[in-house]
C-alpha cells in the first residue's frame, strides 16, 4: 500500500501532502509565538513607570545574529534550487553553510549573550531609599525632562556571596555607565554599542534594596519574556539544524539517488520551517533589543 501524493501533486489541489502539512504546522506555530508575544505586550503595557528596562541587550551582536539568520534563509533557498537543478554538490555546500549559520547563531546566543546577562547584577531600590542613591539614578533631572524614573542600580557584582549570605549587609557593585554618569544626557538613550561596566564602585545597603538578582529570568517581567521567547526560538533553531544535518548527511544522498524530487521536497518543507524561525527572530530583535 502506498500513500498517494507524497511526492507528486494532487491535480485538483496542486499540492503534495507535506506542503499542506508544514503550512498547517506553521499556522500552529504562529499561534504559539503569537501567544508569547501577546503576553509580552500584555506585561509591557501593565508595567509601572521605570520597571521595563531599556538598552540592556547587546545590539551589535543581535544585529549580527539577525544577519546570520537571514543569510541562512537565503542559502537554504539556494540549496533547494540546486537540488531542483540536480546539482547535488552545490546543494551540499549550501546546506553546509546553512547549518553553520544556524550553529553560529546558537553559539552566540548560548556562549556569549546569555552568559553575559547571567553575570550582570541589578538591585531594585526601595521607594523610600531612592533619594539616597540619587547620584546614581539622576531622577531629579529625569523628572524635569519627563522621562521615566530609574529604580534600579546595575553593574558588575564584586561580592556574589552577598546574594546568599545574610551576614553581608552590602552589595559592592562596579556601576554600569548609566548609573555612573546618571545625569549625563548621553545616558538618556540606550547605547548602540555595548558599554562595559565602569570602574566606579558603589556599596548598596541591603536594607535599601527591594530585590536584587543577577540578570536571570527571575529578574523582571522583561527578562522573563526575553529568556522564554529566545529560549523557545533557540530550541526551534536547534531543531531546524538537526533536521538539516540529517539532510546533509550521506543518508539523504540515497534518497536523492532514488528520486531527487523527494529530497527537494523535503528541503522545501524544512526550508519553510526555517524561514518561519527566521521570521520569529525578526520580531524578537526589535521587540527586545531596540524598543
Amino acid at each position: 500500500m502506498e500513500i498517494p501524493y507524497t511526492i507528486s501533486t494532487r491535480p485538483d489541489t496542486g499540492l503534495w501532502n507535506a506542503k499542506i502539512g508544514i503550512w498547517l504546522f506553521l499556522a500552529s506555530e504562529v499561534m504559539l509565538f503569537g501567544g508569547l508575544f501577546s503576553a509580552y505586550v500584555f506585561l509591557r503595557l501593565d508595567a509601572q513607570p521605570g520597571e521595563w528596562p531599556h538598552g540592556l541587550l547587546n545590539v551589535p551582536v543581535g544585529t549580527m545574529n539577525t544577519a546570520i539568520l537571514i543569510a541562512s534563509s537565503v542559502t537554504v533557498v539556494l540549496a533547494w534550487a540546486a537540488l531542483k537543478m540536480r546539482r547535488y554538490r552545490a546543494y551540499w555546500w549550501y546546506m553546509l553553510v546553512t547549518i553553520l549559520c544556524g550553529l553560529i547563531f546558537l553559539g552566540v546566543k548560548l556562549a556569549y549573550e546569555w552568559p553575559q546577562k547571567f553575570e550582570h547584577f541589578g538591585a531594585k531600590i526601595k521607594k523610600e531609599a531612592l533619594e539616597k542613591y540619587e547620584p546614581y539614578l539622576g531622577n531629579h533631572r529625569r523628572l524635569e525632562k519627563g522621562l521615566e524614573p530609574r529604580i534600579e542600580i546595575s553593574g558588575h557584582l564584586h561580592n556574589p556571596e552577598a546574594l546568599k549570605d545574610p551576614n553581608i549587609k552590602e552589595y559592592e557593585i562596579a556601576l554600569d555607565p548609566v548609573n555612573a554618569e546618571a545625569n549625563n544626557p548621553a545616558m538618556d538613550r540606550p547605547h548602540f554599542l555595548y558599554v562595559p561596566p565602569t570602574d566606579k564602585i558603589v556599596n548598596i545597603e541591603k536594607e535599601d534594596v527591594e530585590r536584587a538578582t543577577m540578570f536571570l529570568p527571575t529578574h523582571s517581567a522583561y527578562f522573563a519574556s526575553y529568556f522564554t521567547i529566545t529560549g523557545l526560538h533557540g530550541l526551534h533553531v536547534l531543531g531546524g539544524v538537526l533536521v538539516f544535518i540529517y539532510m546533509w548527511l550521506p543518508v539523504s544522498k540515497k534518497v536523492y539517488q532514488r528520486n531527487p524530487e523527494h529530497l527537494a521536497n523535503r528541503v522545501e518543507v524544512c526550508g519553510l520551517f526555517w524561514h518561519f524561525v527566521d521570521l520569529v527572530w525578526i520580531f524578537v530583535f526589535p521587540l527586545f533589543y531596540l524598543l
Binding site: 507524497t6 500552529s28 504559539l32
Partner: protein, 647 residues
C-alpha cells in the same frame, strides 16, 4: 509501511504498482507500534475509554464526600486507611531514602479514609483534566477520527502514518505523566482543570517539594505532550481530508462526520498553541521563579513573596480560555458528526439541510475563537469587553441551533429504526438541547454574576459533555463496532446499558440546576453542609440533601457501565457475525471489508453521489451507496418536472 515515504522509480513516484508486496510485520509492529490508522484509532479508543472510566471513578469518590462529608469513603477509603497505618509504622529514618514515598503520595488525598480538602481539590482537578484531555478528546477526535475518516473518504491510510503513530505515543507519554502525578508527594495537581494562577503558580512549591516531581509541574509537563499529540493529529487529519479524498468525493459529498472532524482539527491546531505558550510560562514561573502570572506585592502565607512581580493572573485566564472555549467545540463537534451519521442511517432518509449543517459547523469553528472571555465575566474586564463577548456568545448559539434543528427535522417522516446506536443518538438531541439552552442565561453577564461558579454551571456543561458528547461516543462505538471487528455488539445488553445511563444522567444533573440556583458553590468540598446556603427546601430536599440522590445516581450509573464493558470485550470474539454493511448505510467506509485490511479497500473506491442517499425514489432498495454509479435513467428521474404553463 516503511516504504510509504520512499520511492523507487522516477516515472511513477507515488505508486509501486498494484502487486507491490510488503513484508509481514511482527506482532509488535502490527498491534503496538503500528502506523496503520485503524490500529491507532483503536489504541486511542481503548486508552480513552479506560481514562474516561478512571476519571469517572475519581468523581464517584468525590460524590461520597459531597453526600456524606467527613465520613470515611467505603472501600478505597478503608484500604487507604490500612495503608496509612502500615506507612506510619514504616517511617524512614532521618537522612535515609524513603522507599514508600510514592505510596504516601497516592494516599495523600485521604486521612484515615476521610477525604481531605486538598484531596478533594486534587481529585476534582484531575477529574476535569482526565475526562477532557485524556478521555473525550482522544475518543471523539483521535479514535473515531483516525478509524473512520480515512475509510469515509476512501483513503488507504492517513497522509503521514508515522506522524500519526508519534501523535499516539505523545498522548501515551502525556497520560503516563498525568498518572504518575498521583504518586508524588502532595498528590496530583490541585488547581482545578483550569489551573488558575496565582494559586497554581505557588501550589506544591517550596522546600518540601521536588522541583519536577510535584503535582502541578507534572500536570504542566504532561500537557506539553498532550498538546504535541493533538497538534500532530490535527495536521494529519486536515491534510488527509484535503489530499486523500477518493475520486469523485467532492467537498459537498463528504459525510457530515468528516466535516465535523475537519473543523475540530482546525480548532485543535490553532487553539492549543496559546495554551502551550501559557504552560511554558507557568513552567518558567515554577521552575525559574519568573512572575509571568504573579502580580507585584503578592502575599503568600502572610509574607511578601520573593518575586519580581509585574505579572498578571488575568493573562493566564485569557490564554487558557483562548484554548478553553474552542476546546468545548472540540468536545461537541465530533459528537455532532457521529449523531448525524446515525440519524440519517436509522431514519432511512437523507440528512435534512446538509449544506446548512456544513456552513453552521464552519461558522461555529470561526466564532468559537472569539467567545472565550465569557468564562471571565467576574474578573472585572470592563463593560465594553463584556458587551463584545456577550454578543459573540449569543451569535454562536445560532449555528448550534441550526444544527440541532436540522437533526430534529431529519427525523420527521422517517421510518425510524431504534437500534442501539440510534437510541444513544436520539437521546443525545434533548440532552444536548438542555445543555445548550441552559447556557443562554450564562451568556448574559448580568445573569452570570449570580450563577457563576455554582452547580448551575456544572449541570450546564455536563449536560453538553456527559449525556451529550459521551452519549454520542457510545452511539459511535455501537455503530462502528461491526466495521472494526466484523461482529455486532449485543442489542439486549446495549439497551441494559442505555436506559439506566439515560435515567441516571438526568437524576445526577437536573437537581444540580436547583442547587446552583440556591447558590451552592462548585468548589465546596463538604457539599455545602457548613455554609448554611440552600437551607430552603426545593422539591422536598434542601440543597445539601440533594447531594445524596445525586450521588446514588452516579454510583448506579457506574454499575450501568459494567454491561457495556462486558459486552464490548465479549463481542470482539463472540458477537453476532455480520456482513460488511450491517446497518445498510451509504457512506464509503461500509464498502470496505470488516475489519478492513491493511490499505483498507479491495478496489479503490470512487464516489458518484452525496453521502446520504436513502430511500431514493424509484430505487429498489432504501439505501444507495456513494460508490454506486448514477444510472442514466436516474438522471431523468431526478430532474424536476417542468413547470406547468399557465394559460
Amino acid at each position: 509501511m516503511d516504504a510509504s515515504t520512499s520511492v523507487e522509480t522516477h516515472h511513477d513516484p507515488d505508486h509501486h504498482g498494484a502487486n507491490h508486496e510488503h513484508h509481514e510485520l511482527g506482532w509488535w509492529r502490527r498491534y503496538i507500534f503500528s502506523t496503520d490508522h485503524k490500529v491507532i484509532g483503536i489504541q486511542y479508543g481503548l486508552c480513552g475509554l479506560i481514562f474516561l472510566f478512571f476519571g469517572f471513578n475519581l468523581m464517584m469518590l468525590m460524590r461520597w464526600q459531597l453526600a456524606y462529608p467527613g465520613q470515611p469513603v467505603p472501600g478505597i477509603g478503608w484500604i487507604f486507611a490500612g495503608i496509612q497505618t502500615f506507612l506510619d509504622n514504616h517511617q524512614a529514618a532521618a537522612g535515609q531514602f524513603d522507599y514508600w514515598v510514592w505510596l504516601r503520595g497516592l494516599i495523600s488525598p485521604f486521612t484515615k479514609g476521610v477525604m481531605t480538602p486538598d484531596g478533594y481539590n486534587s481529585l476534582g482537578a484531575m477529574h476535569g483534566t482526565i475526562m477532557i484531555f485524556l478521555g473525550v478528546v482522544p475518543v471523539a477526535f483521535a479514535a473515531f477520527g483516525n478509524f473512520v475518516v480515512p475509510l469515509q473518504i476512501g483513503a488507504p491510510d492517513m497522509t503521514f502514518p508515522k506522524v500519526n503513530a508519534a501523535s499516539f505515543w505523545a498522548f501515551g507519554v502525556g497520560g503516563v505523566i498525568m498518572l504518575v502525578s498521583f504518586f508524588v508527594p502532595g498528590g496530583a495537581a490541585k488547581g482545578g482543570w483550569t489551573s488558575y494562577t496565582p494559586l497554581s503558580d505557588i501550589a506544591d512549591k517550596g522546600p518540601a517539594f521536588h522541583p519536577f516531581f510535584n503535582g502541578q509541574t507534572l500536570w504542566l509537563l504532561g500537557f506539553i505532550f498532550l498538546i504535541t499529540s493533538s497538534l500532530l493529529g490535527a495536521v494529519n487529519f486536515i491534510t488527509t481530508i484535503i489530499q486523500l479524498r477518493a475520486k469523485g468525493l467532492t467537498w459537498m459529498r463528504l459525510p457530515f462526520f468528516v466535516w465535523a472532524q475537519f473543523v475540530t482539527a482546525f480548532l485543535l491546531l490553532l487553539a492549543f498553541p496559546p495554551l502551550e505558550a501559557a504552560i511554558v510560562m507557568q513552567l518558567m514561573d515554577r521552575l525559574a521563579d519568573t512572575s509571568f502570572f504573579l502580580p507585584s506585592g503578592l502575599i503568600v502565607n502572610g509574607a511578601q513573596a520573593n518575586i519580581s512581580g509585574g505579572g498578571s493572573p488575568l493573562l493566564w485566564q485569557h490564554l487558557f480560555w483562548f484554548l478553553g472555549h474552542p476546546e468545548v467545540y472540540v468536545l461537541i463537534l465530533p459528537a455532532f458528526g457521529i449523531v448525524a451519521e446515525i440519524l440519517a442511517n436509522n431514519s432511512r432518509k437523507p440528512l435534512w439541510g446538509y449544506k446548512s449543517l456544513v456552513f453552521s459547523v464552519l461558522v461555529i469553528g470561526f466564532l468559537s475563537f472569539v467567545v472565550w472571555a465569557h468564562h471571565m465575566w467576574l474578573t472585572g474586564m470592563g463593560t465594553t469587553v463584556s458587551a463584545f463577548f456577550q454578543t459573540t456568545t449569543l451569535l454562536i448559539s445560532i449555528p448550534s441551533v441550526i444544527i440541532l434543528s436540522a437533526f430534529f427535522i431529519s427525523l420527521w417522516g422517517g421510518s425510524i429504526r431504534f437500534t442501539v446506536p440510534m437510541l444513544w443518538a436520539t437521546a443525545f438531541l434533548p440532552m444536548f438541547g438542555i445543555g445548550g439552552l441552559t447556557g443562554i442565561p450564562l451568556a448574559f453577564n448580568s445573569a452570570d454574576l449570580y450563577l457563576h461558579d455554582t452547580y448551575y454551571i456544572i449541570a450546564h456543561f455536563h449536560y453538553i459533555v456527559a449525556p451529550g458528547t459521551i452519549f454520542g461516543l457510545f452511539a459511535g462505538v455501537y455503530y462502528w463496532f461491526p466495521k472494526a471487528t466484523g461482529r455486532k455488539m449485543n442489542d439486549f445488553w446495549g439497551k441494559v446499558h442505555f436506559w439506566p445511563s439515560l435515567i441516571c444522567m438526568n437524576v445526577i444533573f437536573l437537581p444540580m440546576f436547583l442547587q446552583g440556583m440556591l447558590g451552592m458553590h462548585r468548589r465546596w468540598y463538604d457539599g455545602g453542609q457548613g455554609w448554611g446556603v440552600g437551607a430552603e427546601h426545593v422539591w422536598g430536599l434542601t440543597g445539601f440533601q440533594w447531594n445524596q440522590p445525586i450521588s446514588w445516581a452516579a454510583w448506579i450509573m457506574g454499575l450501568a457501565q459494567i454491561p457495556f464493558i462486558i459486552n464490548f470485550f465479549w463481542s470482539i470474539k463472540h458477537g453476532e457475525k455480520v456482513n460488511d454493511n450491517p446497518w445498510e448505510a451509504t457512506t464509503l467506509e461500509w464498502t470496505a471489508p470488516s475489519p478492513p485490511p491493511h490499505g483498507n479497500f479491495v478496489t479503490t473506491p470512487v464516489a458518484y453521489r452525496g453521502p446520504y442517499e436513502y430511500s431514493l425514489p424509484g430505487s429498489d432498495k432504501d439505501f444507495t451507496m456513494q460508490n454506486e454509479p448514477v444510472e442514466p435513467t436516474e438522471r431523468t428521474r431526478r430532474k424536476p418536472a417542468p413547470e406547468p404553463v399557465l394559460a
